[in-house]
Symmetry: C2
Subunit: 519 residues, 2 copies
């Protein structure tokens, strides 16, 4: 009878679909994918509580969820000022050498080091809110490890964590899951290499392999200190992250290079936004060039201004193409803006890309933009600015669906050449369409997969069986250096003893011979 | 207009679901999973052609498919005789030491070396049949790489290959996809280690890491020669296998240890067989012990006989338990078979395991049996005999859902202790039920996932974007040994030059001083 009851109990457990989920998202475009997920989770009957700071760039209420806010000691204006200051530090930095690219990477890490902990103490030391979170007795926390606060809260509440992200600025999804990044074919961040490297590139990438844990150490200088103090134990962000149940990566192999992944890292692919028809005036404008179609130009949510000279170079190039151009731009401009260019404070990027007359997409190469371009099959001219953009760009350029132009030495001629190439050379469109078909072909839709794994973690109270035993090894054991050292020692000893023995025997024989001769 | 047409073309391409599939399955229990898949693919409208030898243990017609047969130069009786001879060579071999286990593994490789090519030449040099296969213009081939023939035919026809298997006898799914098997936590075949190894075990496993490619070399001694001759180029089975589009693994993390996998290796999980009610007489028998329930005992499809003395030890143990026992056994037995034991020539294993009164499962630990036990939540007593069975067994024993007994030194007392433990100690049942729930919880059913990936490969003419660039590196490049060597050389040179310079400067200073003294 006990057996049957156990059966029923576990069958019930297996069928439980809903749970109580705490969500601590990251700001900016990071909110896009996670927002779609939490709304769907709420719609399916889960009790979803989203905790966000009172001041943020893009965070806000979402459907079918409860939103809690906490006060912070900064304003949106201050965030924007800080971002602008950071951007001006590394936009337009020359990245033509490996060293320059590495220096730019370190600059970014230093900027993120401050940004990723800006709201941590405001939440952790908000006693009332933390008490409320404890009382809620959540089944799991869903967070974006780009910011530290959700990671630390998950550890504090001792509940399973689900991390959702694109790529991580210090490759934490590889380091914390103890998944090797073989330097011979897995290019590191900011190297701008593809998975096919020459000897020199493999050399640089191998150095980066050894340096990568230090990047995380540097990124989390403040966070490690705060986490250790708050959790009252010596710990680090990487150590906390190694406890994560599941990492949901909203990227896929339409862009990513194939490499081994741990089973708790799920390449779910990006959640595609819904496509809506264009407003009438925009529809009329983009149809204005007939079969020539139009070009979409944005540099992401963070950059809508350029130095006037740079902006003039873009306009000069646009003057020479038959396509219309829709450009999200809010900065100063020369007076003679060509008639085929429409400037907008904000533009419906995905809806424009989905338009059948979209011919090319000039983009900074942010993850979302790259995937929207691929999803809608629009060839790209990329102008990477910072972060993972230049690496994203390498991935599409190496697939023959995009050209890239360096913002540092951009001229209207270079832009024009690139633009004409992706529009007039049919191979870009054909390859992009093939890539688009592959990108949209999943066994299960990204949103449904993310819902499944989040509910899975709530249902099973984690996913311990997907966490590798490698997590229990130190660096030397993990790389088998102790074992290899021991085996080499045995080998050397055996060789030495053999040689010595042989020499001894040889000498013995040699000595005997002269004696015989004397006799 | 061209853009819109391209769109429509690729949308059509993405929606194409059916194709022409060549299937070359392997014999024995390997046919189980692949048969379910090909029948489903046929049912969905794909044109599926299954090519099998005229003589086989279990291969035969399948629903919704066309079956073609080819004559071979052996009979079923000869296969059975060969298997019996191989089994007697290594069943009951002591495996208490690492060396003994390795020797047993080599014995198995040698047996498979002959078995896996037994039908190769019969198909390859059957000109009429090969001509027919060429004319069919298949979109892809689905095969089990346990036998070589399908792998070679796929390469010959230059069509994308889908491999479906459990584990591979020489780990080809790791070696051919260039997925590292880190020896610190990924135990090798026949070591009987778990993913948590002590120093000694890691040492043995590291040696196995270096030896593993040789295991494939030995396994494919004949096959490499035949393939090179037939394809008229110097090649190897591992090289051909590295061209595979997708590897479908009918195993999952309910048993497997978490480790990194390449994206073209899909852990789909086993396709569970349908459960049917038991025949009336069997139903009456298994209900005969009331709440005590019953025990299922099989040693797999290949072993249904034991030496009489061994069989007597089993009977002696069964005499002392209150449960009924259903035993698949065809060999000789002592006269006094206890009344609670029912002997059968064949038994409906999965249907028995699914019975609510099933209390324990005595099994050899074959992949199918292990998963049927887990799926139905029945604790196990395992008696591994050969192949991957002892490794499978380690995986369930380490999860606390099974006990293991060595056939080599099995006694009725040892069996009784193990049997009573898994039946009476509630922890086995509880852990097994948890494992069962995890095992049955997939985002998409294994059969549907296998269908998806097979149709995916046909639709996209392969899956090149999932194949790692590591395949283009040689062993030294892959392990970055050339780069590390060069970096060490640079380091040593820099250190030497620095030391020499310092010594030179020091000497100079040293020389000057005495001169001064003299002055």
């Amino acid at each position: 009878m006990t057996g049957v009851l156990l059966w029923l109990y576990f069958l019930f457990l297996g069928s439980v679909q809903t749970g109580k989920l705490l969500v601590i998202p990251a700001d900016g475009s990071h909110w896009n994918n996670i927002k779609s997920l939490v709304e769907e989770l709420g719609r399916r009957g889960n009790e979803v509580v989203v905790v966000i700071p009172k001041e943020s760039l893009s965070l806000g209420p979402s459907k079918h969820t409860t939103t809690l806010t906490y006060p912070v000691n900064y304003t949106v204006a201050q965030i924007k000022k800080q971002i602008a200051s950071n951007l001006s530090n590394y936009i337009g930095v020359d990245t033509s050498t490996d060293l320059a690219r590495f220096q730019k990477y370190v600059l970014m890490i230093d900027a993120l080091k401050v940004g990723s902990v800006k709201n941590v103490e405001s939440l952790l030391f908000n006693k009332d809110l933390m008490k409320t979170l404890i009382e809620w007795e959540f089944d799991a926390v869903l967070t974006d490890p780009f910011e530290c606060v959700g990671v630390i809260v998950g550890e504090y509440l001792s509940i399973p964590s689900i991390y959702m992200q694109g790529n991580h600025p210090c490759d934490a999804h590889f380091l914390a899951t103890k998944s090797l990044s073989p330097p011979s074919y897995a290019p590191h961040l900011a190297t701008h290499f593809t998975d096919r490297m020459n000897f020199w590139q493999r050399g640089v990438n191998t150095l980066r392999y050894f340096l990568q844990p230090m990047a995380c150490g540097r990124l989390y200088t403040h966070a490690d200190r705060i986490a250790s103090a708050f959790l009252q134990k010596e710990t680090s962000m990487l150590e906390i992250m190694s406890h994560a149940a599941i990492w949901l990566e909203y990227i896929d192999y339409a862009t990513e290079f194939p490499r081994p992944l741990m089973p708790n890292v799920i390449m779910m692919g990006p959640i595609a936004p819904e496509t809506k028809p264009l407003p009438q005036d925009l529809e009329t404008f983009v149809n204005g060039s007939g079969e020539h179609g139009f070009v979409i130009f944005t540099l992401g949510s963070m950059v809508s201004e350029l130095p006037e000279v740079k902006a003039g170079q873009f306009l000069e190039a646009f003057r020479h193409i038959p396509q219309k151009v829709v450009w999200r731009y809010t900065g100063a401009l020369p007076k003679d803006v060509p008639k085929n260019v429409k400037l907008m404070n904000w533009l419906p990027q995905n809806d424009l890309l989905a338009h059948p007359k979209a011919k090319a997409f000039i983009t900074h190469g942010g993850t979302h933009s790259i995937y929207e371009g691929i999803c809608n099959g629009v060839p790209m001219v990329t102008i990477p600015l910072f972060g993972d953009q230049a690496d994203n760009v390498q991935r599409v350029v190496s697939r023959g669906v995009a050209e890239t132009v360096n913002i540092f030495d951009l001229t209207s001629e270079k832009l024009l050449v690139a633009l004409r190439k992706v529009i007039n050379d049919k191979s870009y469109k054909e390859k992009m369409m093939k890539l688009s078909v592959i990108h949209r072909d999943h066994p299960i839709k990204p949103l449904d997969l993310a819902v499944y794994w989040t509910e899975y973690v709530m249902r099973h109270k984690g996913a311990a069986h997907l966490r590798s035993a490698a997590n229990e090894l130190n660096w030397i054991q993990y790389h088998s250096l102790d074992v290899i050292g021991f085996l080499l020692l045995v080998l050397v000893t055996v060789v030495c003893v053999t040689v010595k023995t042989c020499m001894f025997c040889f000498k013995k024989c040699f000595r005997v011979t002269p004696k015989k001769k004397k006799e």
